[in-house]
Symmetry: C2
Subunit: 396 residues, 2 copies
Amino acid sequence: MAYTEYYTPTHIYFGRETENLVGKVLKEKGAHKVLVHYGSGSAEKSGLLGKVRASLRENGIEFVELGGVKPNPRLSLARAGIELCRKEGVDFILSVGGGSALDSAKCISYGVPYDGDVWDFYNGKLPEKRVPVGAVLTLSATGSEMSNSSVITNDEITPNDKFGSNTNMGRPVFALLNPELTYSVSPFQTGSGSTDIIMHTLERFFHSGADLDLTDNVAASVIRTVVKYTAVALNNPCDYEARANLMWAGSISHNGLTNMGFESIGDWACHRLEHELSAIYDVAHGAGLSALWGTWARYVKYVDPSRFAKLGKLVFGIEDASADKAAELTIQAFESAFRSFGMPVNIPDLLGRRISVEDCRMLAEKASLKGKKTLGNFRILQTEDMFQIYKGAALL
Amino acid sequence: MAYTEYYTPTHIYFGRETENLVGKVLKEKGAHKVLVHYGSGSAEKSGLLGKVRASLRENGIEFVELGGVKPNPRLSLARAGIELCRKEGVDFILSVGGGSALDSAKCISYGVPYDGDVWDFYNGKLPEKRVPVGAVLTLSATGSEMSNSSVITNDEITPNDKFGSNTNMGRPVFALLNPELTYSVSPFQTGSGSTDIIMHTLERFFHSGADLDLTDNVAASVIRTVVKYTAVALNNPCDYEARANLMWAGSISHNGLTNMGFESIGDWACHRLEHELSAIYDVAHGAGLSALWGTWARYVKYVDPSRFAKLGKLVFGIEDASADKAAELTIQAFESAFRSFGMPVNIPDLLGRRISVEDCRMLAEKASLKGKKTLGNFRILQTEDMFQIYKGAALL
């Protein structure tokens, strides 16, 4: 019996100055003692952390803080967060930042009530309990504010592993989305975030099994919106309309809406292939995705060129009598969009240097767990396929 | 401080045979003793109630039953449900049916833990507690399965009042959406349901204040989908793809997605004007809405013809240099769609007879609570405006 679950319990507050609601909302959601979890100094310098602290104090909510989350958030910091939460009796975790702070917060939230090693949850085990998580979001990218996902890099082993955990326990209780907080996001991070948003939609669009036409149309609306407003935001970083559209696109591209009614939750091969790149080269996730997608798409498009053609028609208005030709035009249009975001469309562009055939082989071996795992379902990829895709993206 | 809340906690299970999950899902959601609430005999005759009972028994869930919900669900039956739940110690209410059974279930859910008169909640009071509600849906129309709304007709007074209650307490805990269960919906009810879905989107599209372009595009996707697949479903009632698209369109047209990021929750004047029609003439809600919308639209379009033009372009591809002309073409295109659904576009068509100017006056007096209430916000309507709209729709 095949069915789609759609479960998006996250209570969203969207609009200007919504970060000031944080104390009130935490109180309503039952928080008494909060871990405020954040990344670099920018949340401090911008005054955002100050506002958050003031709102918490006004509402009589105790809190402790843990900063220092890096992009590709690390297991070691999450472990420190788990210890701190236990010691301090924290009953709610507040992420202040982008997807990295949020993913780290999710990891902590599973670890606090768990007797074993939290890394278990990034190796297939499902958490049964969590400390609830809320978010003040400062970046439109990962969609983690409504998603069931978190991705953690294990920095305790060499080479690093970057694994994900997908569970409804990972859906935040609330998220405060103020597009103004993304005005200061750099052009590169804006482009990388927009790529991530598009990729969350593309990973779902290509899959095995039945679709739902309404969902295809919603997905195309998300992608069209991102293409349109990324250009506006790159031109004027303080354009509210652009930042607002990108922010909501980020949330709905990854909350399940764009695979509603589909027989599978998507292909996700590019995400897995990218995780190896960012685990090893520590690149921005969005940039890693755009460096791979075109090669992946050309490698698999023969499976169903009409699916690519439908996408191209809905997003870019591409019409061609030949599905195969339309599919190629669609892939080119996406590569062109990624380039306009300032993103690489191959690995040398991504890293600023070439990698070797041996590197590609090593990446493919890691991605497939030495041949024990296939990736994707639009086309199922074996280790050799992964190697070919890395090699193609490496221009070898 | 203006912001949009988006809160859709309802856990959706979408696909063929999902009704068979009902016992398992009720158990997971903590139900012990359930009120199974339904409408006419069709749920019995089709075997759906039998399946629901079997699934409940399999999962060791006790239940009592209350059938007899009518379209435009009545307060008197809800009162009987409240008494029954109290007597039997019911801790979960399961609606099996369309929006009427669900709205009646919501009314019962507020009433059980409340000491006062449940009708208070349809006169502006907000419930603080409820018994949780779940749904097996058999009709694509009201969107009540994910919405915060319920509408109840007070049959204890003459003429009847039909009032709504909007509260997050009204959002069901889960809903099982099997499009196959709507195969047996009649052509008239299919057309009326599709009109209701479109109207939930139109009521939000027209409002005062700022919009969000992504939301406009999602709204247009919903409407285009409904126009396309209503034709398919009327032609072949057992077309799964058509029924699936209509079903999901119904849910997202009324869960808040189509006004996300808007400064207001929409206009809603047509809904209020229609409630008077169905309270007094007991007509199908969707049919009442289509009988009024064109007249409302022509009455208010001067406020912002470009908003109508944007809608026409996104939904029907209407292009015209003059916003005013494009607005008129858009209104005509919607009337034409409603007619193609078998729906009336004026009051005589709706009732099969004419009403008098005095009737229109009485309806306007009721809708405005004798001049104490205005309706709408795209254009704020006074009693006299309501009278003009009823008169126009009555072809007087």
